[in-house]
C-alpha cells in the first residue's frame, strides 16, 4: 500500500482512513506493507540533510495492531496482535498542498531557516510500534528540489525498487501523489493495481483545477485494475470527469474508529450559550463562508449562541476579516488549528457541528462529532451524507436552511435528544472492519479475475 501519511503524523482525513483500513484489513487476515514518504522533522533528520541528500533513507519497521474486543470466526483468539510491515521513505512530500503552494512552502521554509511543520500535525499516538530494522539507504541519483512533481516522481522510483524487493499480491495506492508510485510498482511487478480515490482534483480546487494533477489522477485510474472511491459522489466524478469505465469503479465507504475505550473529555463550559462548531481546514472546499453567513443570520435573531471556527487554512485571514466586517466577532471565535486532545475538547463543548463542504468526497469529521453525541448538519454535497440517516442534510449554498437547522438544534430540545439517542448508535455501526471486509472481497475478486 502506498500512502502519504500515517499516524502519528496526520494532517487530514487520509491518514486516519489509511490507519483504519489497514487495521481492518489486518483484522481480516490481510498482510499489508505500508509505504509512506517521510517528511517530518521530529526524527533524526535535519531539513538540510533531507533537501541535500543524494541518498534516500529508508526505514522499515513492524507496526503492531492490537485487534481488541470483537472475536471473529476465523481467529481463535480475540486479543491477537496483528503485524504490518511499515516502510518510510525520506521525502519532501507534504500532503494537501497543490504544486504551487508546495513551492511556496519550500521557499518559506528555507527563508525561515527551516522550521518544521511538526507542530501543525495532529499527534495521534499509535497503539504500539517498534522498530525492527533499519534498511539503510537506497542509492538514488535524482535531484531533490522544491518541486512537488519531482518528489512525486522520486517517490515512484523508490516504489519500483520496493516492488522488486518485496513479495506481495496486490498494489494499493492512496490518492494522486502515490499513483505514479503505484503505476511504477505495477510495471516492474506485473501485479494488479488498485487506486483509492479519497479526493479528486475537482474536490480540492473546484473548476480551476491543476491539469498536471488531473493528468496524474487520470493516468492512475486508467492504469488501475480497480478504482476504489469513498462515496458514490466521488464515484460519479471518477466516471464522468475522468472517463473511467464504471465497471471497474467501486465504492467502499469510510468508517470511524470506536472510542468506547476512550475517556470522554470533561470540559466545563463557563458560559450559558450554546456552541456551534465548524472544524476543518479553512479552504474553499470546506465552505467556511457559508457557515459564517448562516452564523450571521442566527445571531441576528438569537443571543443564546456562540460560533467557533476551528482550523486553519488559506481562507482563515479572509474569514476573520469577514467576521469583523459583519460585526459578529463578539460571538464568533477562531481557534486556529486544533491538535489531538483539543479536538475532543472542542466536540465536548459543542452543541451543534456543521460541515458545510462545497465538495467533500467523504468527510469523517461528522462521524467523530456524532460519536461524541454532537448533532450534525452536513451538506448534501458530501459523501458521508449518502450513508447517514440521523443528520440534517442541507445544500452547502442554502444558508437559510443551514441557519434554520442551527436554530432548530439549539432551540428545540426534542431534536438534540433524538440525535443523542440514534446518532451515536448509527455511527458505532460504521466500523472499519466492515469497510475492510468489503475491500478484501474486492481484492479477492480482482485476484480471481486476473489469475
Amino acid at each position: 500500500m502506498f500512502g502519504w501519511e500515517f499516524p502519528p503524523h496526520i494532517s487530514g482525513g487520509l491518514g486516519t482512513a489509511c490507519y483504519g483500513l489497514t487495521q481492518g484489513l489486518a483484522y481480516h487476515g490481510v498482510d499489508v506493507i505500508f509505504v509512506v514518504p517521510k517528511a517530518y522533522g521530529d526524527e533524526d533528520q535535519s531539513s538540510l540533510k533531507l533537501l541535500g541528500a543524494s541518498q534516500i533513507p529508508i526505514r522499515k519497521r513492524n507496526y503492531q495492531f492490537k485487534t481488541s474486543g470483537i472475536p471473529s470466526e476465523d481467529q481463535s483468539s480475540p486479543e491477537m496482535v496483528q503485524e504490518m510491515l511499515y516502510i518510510e521513505i525520506g521525502s519532501g512530500l507534504v500532503p494537501y498542498l497543490s504544486p504551487e503552494e508546495f513551492e511556496q512552502y519550500i521557499k518559506d521554509r528555507l527563508l525561515a531557516g527551516d522550521t518544521y511543520w511538526s507542530g501543525k500535525f495532529r499527534q495521534v499516538t499509535p497503539e504500539s510500534s517498534e522498530y525492527t530494522e533499519i534498511m539503510g539507504t537506497i542509492d538514488f541519483t535524482g535531484r531533490y528540489g522544491p518541486d512537488l512533481m519531482q518528489e512525486v516522481s522520486n517517490y515512484s522510483i523508490i516504489a519500483a525498487e520496493i516492488a522488486i524487493e518485496q513479495d506481495f499480491d496486490l498494489i494499493h495506492a492512496h490518492d494522486w501523489l502515490t499513483y505514479p508510485a503505484g503505476i511504477a510498482a505495477k510495471n516492474v511487478s506485473g501485479k494488479p493495481l488498485i487506486v483509492h480515490v479519497h479526493a479528486t482534483e475537482f474536490d480540492r480546487s473546484g473548476e480551476n483545477y491543476n491539469t498536471i494533477v488531473y493528468d496524474i489522477e487520470k493516468s492512475g485510474m486508467m492504469a488501475a485494475d480497480l478504482v476504489v472511491t469513498v462515496s458514490n459522489l466521488t464515484r460519479s466524478i471518477v466516471i464522468n470527469r475522468y472517463g473511467i469505465d464504471p465497471g471497474k469503479v467501486v465504492t467502499v465507504y469510510n468508517a470511524v474508529e470506536s472510542d468506547r475505550d476512550k475517556e470522554p473529555a470533561q470540559v466545563k463550559k463557563n458560559f450559558d450559550e450554546k456552541v456551534v462548531t465548524f472544524l476543518g481546514r479553512i479552504t474553499y472546499q470546506k465552505g467556511p463562508e457559508y457557515f459564517m453567513d448562516a452564523a450571521n443570520k442566527v445571531l441576528k435573531h438569537t443571543d443564546n449562541v456562540r460560533f467557533v471556527m476551528a482550523g486553519s487554512g488559506d481562507l482563515l485571514r479572509k474569514m476573520i476579516r469577514y467576521a469583523a466586517r459583519l460585526g459578529i466577532m463578539e460571538k464568533f471565535h477562531f481557534t486556529d488549528f486544533l491538535k489531538g486532545q483539543e479536538v475532543d475538547y472542542m466536540f465536548a463543548l459543542s452543541d451543534v457541528y456543521v460541515m458545510p463542504s462545497v465538495s467533500e468526497p467523504f468527510g469523517i469529521s461528522p462521524l467523530e462529532a456524532m460519536r461524541s453525541n454532537v448533532p450534525v448538519i452536513i451538506s448534501k454535497q458530501s459523501g458521508v451524507s449518502e450513508i447517514l440517516k440521523h443528520a440534517i442534510k442541507i445544500d452547502f449554498w442554502d444558508v437559510d436552511a443551514m441557519a434554520d437547522a442551527i436554530h432548530g438544534l439549539i432551540t428545540y430540545n426534542g431534536l438534540s435528544s433524538m440525535f443523542q439517542e440514534y446518532g451515536k448508535g448509527e455511527v458505532e455501526n460504521l466500523k472499519w472492519e466492515k469497510s475492510a471486509l468489503e475491500l478484501k472481497n474486492h481484492y479477492l475478486n480482482l485476484l480471481n479475475s486476473t489469475s
Binding site: K297, K300, H301, K389, H390, I392, K393, D400, A401, A403, D404, A405, H407, G408, T411, Y412, N413, G414, L415, S417, M418, E421, Y422
Partner: protein, 464 residues
C-alpha cells in the same frame, strides 16, 4: 347472509410551507397554498370526481341494495371549499341518494383523544355540526383519527352519545378472535365496537396493483370468494380504507374502478351477500364479547399503535407543546388563531416527523413535503413558536424568566414576586420624584406637544 360494510376515509391536511426561524414573529401565514391546491386538485381529478360518479351511478341503479359510508375530516371540507367546491356538490349528490352514511370524527384529523378530553369533545361536536350543515345527516357512529382506539377513548365516545365506534382489528388487540363480529367496550358495555378486517381491506388498499403480489391480478370473483370463504358464523366483513385507494393509491389504470363496479354488481346479484352501513350493523347485531384495549391501537404500520405519530422525542415535544396551549386559545377567542390551532393539530404533521420512515419509507413518504423527519420537526416548531407569540400577545400573557406566570411555582414564584415588588417600588419612587420636580420647576413634559408641532412645521418648511 354475509354483509359487507364499506367505509371510506377522506382527508387532506393543510400542509405547512417552508417556514424559517427568521419568519417567526414576522410572517403569520403557515400554509403552502400552492402545494395544497395542487395535491387536492390532482386527487380530485384522479379519485374524488370519477369515483363519486361511479358510486352515484351504482347507488341510483341499485337503490338500497348498495350502500357506502364516508368519514370526512373538517380540514378536508375546508380545503374543498377553498379549491374544489364542485367536489362538495358531488358528495352532496351522493348523500341525496339516501344510501350513504357519514361518520363522526375529530374536526382536525387530530390525535386530541390522547391529549385532552375537553378538546376532544369540542372537536367532535364541531365536526358533527359541520357534517350536519353540509349533508343534513347526523352521524351516530364514531371513528377516531387513524382508527385510534382504547378503552378510555371508547368510554369518552359513549359519553358523547354514540352507539358504536370503529377500531382496528389488530392482532395484538384481538388475539385469536375474529374482526367479523361485534364487540363492546369494557368500560361502557353500551358502546359497540366494529373492527376493520385489515387483511381484506389492505388487499385493496395496499396490494391491489402490486404485480409482485402472488394474488395479482385480483378479480372481483376471487375477492368475493375470499369473503364467502370466511367461517359460517361470521356475518359481516368491515372493509375500511382511504377513499384515495380508488384512483390515487391504486391508479385508475390498475383497473380498480372496474373491480369496484364488478364487485358491487356481483354482490347485489348474490343471494348470500348484501351491503350495509356501520349504524345498521350496530342496530341489528348484538355484541359477542367485551374488547379490552388498555393501550391505544391504530391502523398504521406493522405495529398498529401510535408510534408513527408519537414515537420519538421530537413528536412528543411538538405534541405536548401544542396541547399545552388550549387554555390560551380559548382565552384568546380569536377566529384566526382558532383556525390555525385546528390546522396545526392534524396528525399528518406528526407523521412527517416519524423516524420510522427510515424503514417504512414507502407509506410514510406519500405526499410528504419534507426531506427528513428533522426537517419536518424544525419547520413545525418554528411555526408553533410564531403561533405562541401571537397567542401570548393576544392574551397578554406575561413570562418571568421565560416561564409563563401561571406555570410559576415554588422558588421561582417567590423569586418572581420579589422581583416584581422591587420593580414596583422603583417605579413608584420614580413617579414620586418626577411629580415633585414637576411641581417645583417649569416642566418640560407639559410643553412637549408644542415642541412636537414646532418640529413638524420646521420639517415641512425644510421640505419646501
Amino acid at each position: 347472509m354475509k354483509k359487507i360494510c364499506f367505509y371510506f376515509q377522506v382527508h387532506q391536511p393543510f400542509r405547512l410551507k417552508r417556514y424559517r426561524f427568521f419568519d417567526v414573529g414576522n410572517d403569520h401565514y403557515y400554509y403552502d397554498d400552492y402545494l395544497n391546491k395542487h395535491i387536492l386538485k390532482k386527487v380530485a381529478n384522479r379519485c374524488y370526481i370519477p369515483t363519486n360518479e361511479l358510486l352515484y351511478s351504482l347507488l341510483t341503479e341499485f337503490k338500497d341494495q348498495f350502500k357506502v359510508t364516508f368519514s370526512m375530516t373538517g380540514l378536508f371540507l375546508d380545503q374543498l371549499e377553498l379549491y374544489a367546491p364542485d367536489v362538495i356538490k358531488s358528495f352532496q349528490k351522493l348523500a341525496s341518494t339516501g344510501s350513504v352514511e357519514f361518520l363522526s370524527e375529530t374536526y382536525s384529523h387530530s390525535l386530541v383523544s390522547q391529549a385532552s378530553q375537553e378538546e376532544f369533545v369540542d372537536q367532535v361536536n364541531l365536526h358533527r355540526s359541520r357534517i350536519e350543515s353540509v349533508f343534513g345527516l347526523t352521524p351516530t357512529v364514531f371513528r377516531n383519527t387513524e382508527l385510534v382506539y382504547s378503552d378510555a377513548t371508547g368510554e369518552a365516545v359513549a359519553k358523547m352519545g354514540y352507539q358504536a365506534m370503529i377500531g382496528e382489528g389488530a392482532k395484538h388487540v384481538l388475539g385469536w378472535k375474529s374482526p367479523n363480529f361485534l364487540y363492546y367496550n369494557v368500560l361502557n358495555p353500551k358502546l359497540k365496537v366494529l373492527l376493520r378486517n385489515y387483511k381484506l381491506s389492505d388487499d385493496l388498499a395496499f396490494r391491489f396493483s402490486n404485480r409482485s403480489w402472488s394474488e395479482w391480478p385480483l378479480k372481483a370473483e376471487k375477492y368475493i370468494g375470499w369473503i364467502k370463504a370466511t367461517p359460517k358464523g361470521e356475518e359481516f366483513i368491515n372493509l375500511f380504507m382511504d377513499y384515495e385507494t380508488f384512483g390515487e393509491h391504486q391508479p385508475l389504470e390498475s383497473g380498480i374502478h372496474q373491480f369496484l363496479e364488478a364487485m358491487v354488481r356481483q354482490v347485489v346479484k348474490d343471494r348470500n351477500l348484501c351491503f350495509c352501513t356501520p349504524s345498521e350493523l350496530a342496530r341489528e347485531y348484538q355484541p359477542v364479547a367485551p374488547l379490552s384495549v388498555p393501550y391505544p391501537s391504530s391502523w398504521a404500520d406493522e405495529e398498529r399503535d401510535l408510534s408513527a405519530w408519537l414515537g420519538n422525542e421530537m413528536q412528543k415535544e411538538a405534541f405536548n407543546k401544542l396541547y399545552s396551549l388550549r387554555t390560551l386559545v380559548l382565552q384568546a377567542q380569536d377566529q384566526a388563531l382558532t383556525k390555525d390551532w385546528a390546522y396545526l393539530q392534524a396528525s399528518d404533521h406528526f407523521y412527517y416527523m416519524s423516524t420510522k420512515f427510515f424503514t417504512d419509507q414507502a407509506v410514510h413518504n406519500y405526499f410528504n413535503p419534507y426531506n427528513s423527519p428533522y426537517d419536518a420537526f424544525i419547520n413545525y416548531m418554528n411555526i408553533l413558536s410564531d403561533f405562541i407569540i401571537r397567542l401570548e400577545k393576544k392574551t397578554k400573557r406575561v413570562r418571568y424568566k421565560g416561564i409563563p406566570l401561571e406555570e410559576l411555582a415554588g422558588q421561582n414564584l417567590d423569586e418572581a414576586i420579589g422581583a416584581y415588588e422591587n420593580i414596583l417600588k422603583q417605579l413608584r419612587k420614580k413617579r414620586n420624584t418626577t411629580a415633585k420636580s414637576a411641581g417645583r420647576q417649569d416642566p418640560v413634559s407639559t410643553k412637549l406637544p408644542d415642541k412636537a408641532t414646532k418640529t413638524t412645521r420646521a420639517g415641512k418648511k425644510g421640505k419646501n
